[in-house]
Amino acid sequence: MSELAKLLPMALDLILLTSVVVLAALVLGGHRRATGRNDARRRVILFIAFGLLLALLWASLGAPDVALAEAAIGAGFAGALLFAATNALPVEAENKVSAARHAGPAPVGHGLEWLINFGIAAFAILLLGALWLSLPALDTDRLGPAVRTVLPETGVSNPVTAVLLNLRAFDTLLEIAVLLTAALAIRQLGPARAASAAPEGMLTALVPWLVPALILTAGYLLWVGAHAPGGAFQAGAMLAAAGVVLHLTGRSGGGLPSPRWQPWALIAAVAVFLAVGLAGLALNGVFLGYRGASASVLILLIETAATLGIAAMLISAYLGGDGGGDEAGDEAGQAPGAPR
């Protein structure tokens, strides 16, 4: 029985690993010149399945925080983002002549393809060899015990949250700044995508249930992140999902505040994070230095701002441009792609 209990999870992981690699090949494979809408949608749906299987794999490897983020952001949110982008692609024509006209740019020539395949095979073998040689180093436990030693002082009991929001809070601040940079860049690239003109009745009927449930789940994930899998990123993704649902049902602002307040919503996370960091510098002489009793309150403060900010940035990225906000947005949504 104990042999079976050991073998079963390993067998499940092997099945998951094989499926993940096969799905990746399907996501990226197919006809060399196929670039139409149906082909793209098939790829994106397979990519969502790929992300969900990865989430299962992360959970099986003892990384539930990563699994939640992968399912919510890597599969769910990125899937919605990519799927919305396929709407702009031309539909494949049935006859060959116009299909050739719609085919995208020609990929590299056969000679170069052979060279690329050869180079990548060599690189893969080298990489695997290097990983094989570093296996003993990978197996030694170095940072784990260090985190466990200081965990009681970090203000949270979930070690991943402790690393993200306390021990390496500086990295997380920079990461949110990267997200902000991307969101701001996207806003500069043109008007937001128009909301669905004729939202489906069933989806609209679901909104009064789904959106509050998503907000509630976001609040729960934010709170529970201190001692169990969860946290600002997963909670922010839940709120962003509510925004996507609102956009799909005709609200072109996707639940973002009015244009006047949007920039503030976007920079809120970085601003609060920075303020807490500077307060730590003034009081303890260490940027983002907080330990002991006040740490849990400060982490909750940062995470609340981060949840709202990450949600605003993700929704803004989904809208794919300068979102007008719910009051003014529907006007801007009338003429997608029109020259300003």
């Binding site: 489906e200 069933m202 989806l203 679901l206 249930w209 789904l210 449930a213």
Partner: protein, 106 residues
């Protein structure tokens, strides 16, 4: 094996069976609408059986409630998603029909 496990195990096995039938339906049925029919119905039932089986073995009421909450969240989501996919397929089929070149009846 406790009495609870004796009730839970058949529930989970039956749930997996429904998932298997639903997945077989997706692979074997001829068109999108019948495939959707298979996957939405069989998977919802299968998930419900698995969730109740796991809830019976859960540590405490809070964990059991979470399993049931997962099922309750999936039910409307999969119903609406199935409906939306069917509607979209129908709309695509109609547009394709409208754009088809008209043939003279022989």
């Amino acid at each position: 094996m406790t009495a609870l496990e004796l009730i839970a195990a058949p529930l989970i096995i039956a749930g997996v069976g429904f998932f298997l039938v639903g997945s077989l339906g997706v692979l074997r049925l001829p068109d999108l609408h019948s495939r959707l029919h298979a996957v939405t119905k069989a998977d919802n039932l299968g998930l419900g059986l698995i969730a109740s089986g796991l809830a019976l073995q859960a540590d405490g009421l809070a964990e059991a409630a979470k399993y049931l909450a997962i099922w309750l969240a999936i039910l409307p989501a999969s119903a609406v998603a199935g409906h939306l996919i069917a509607r979209l397929a129908l709309r695509d089929a109609r547009t394709a029909e409208a754009h088809k070149p008209t043939r003279t009846p022989s």
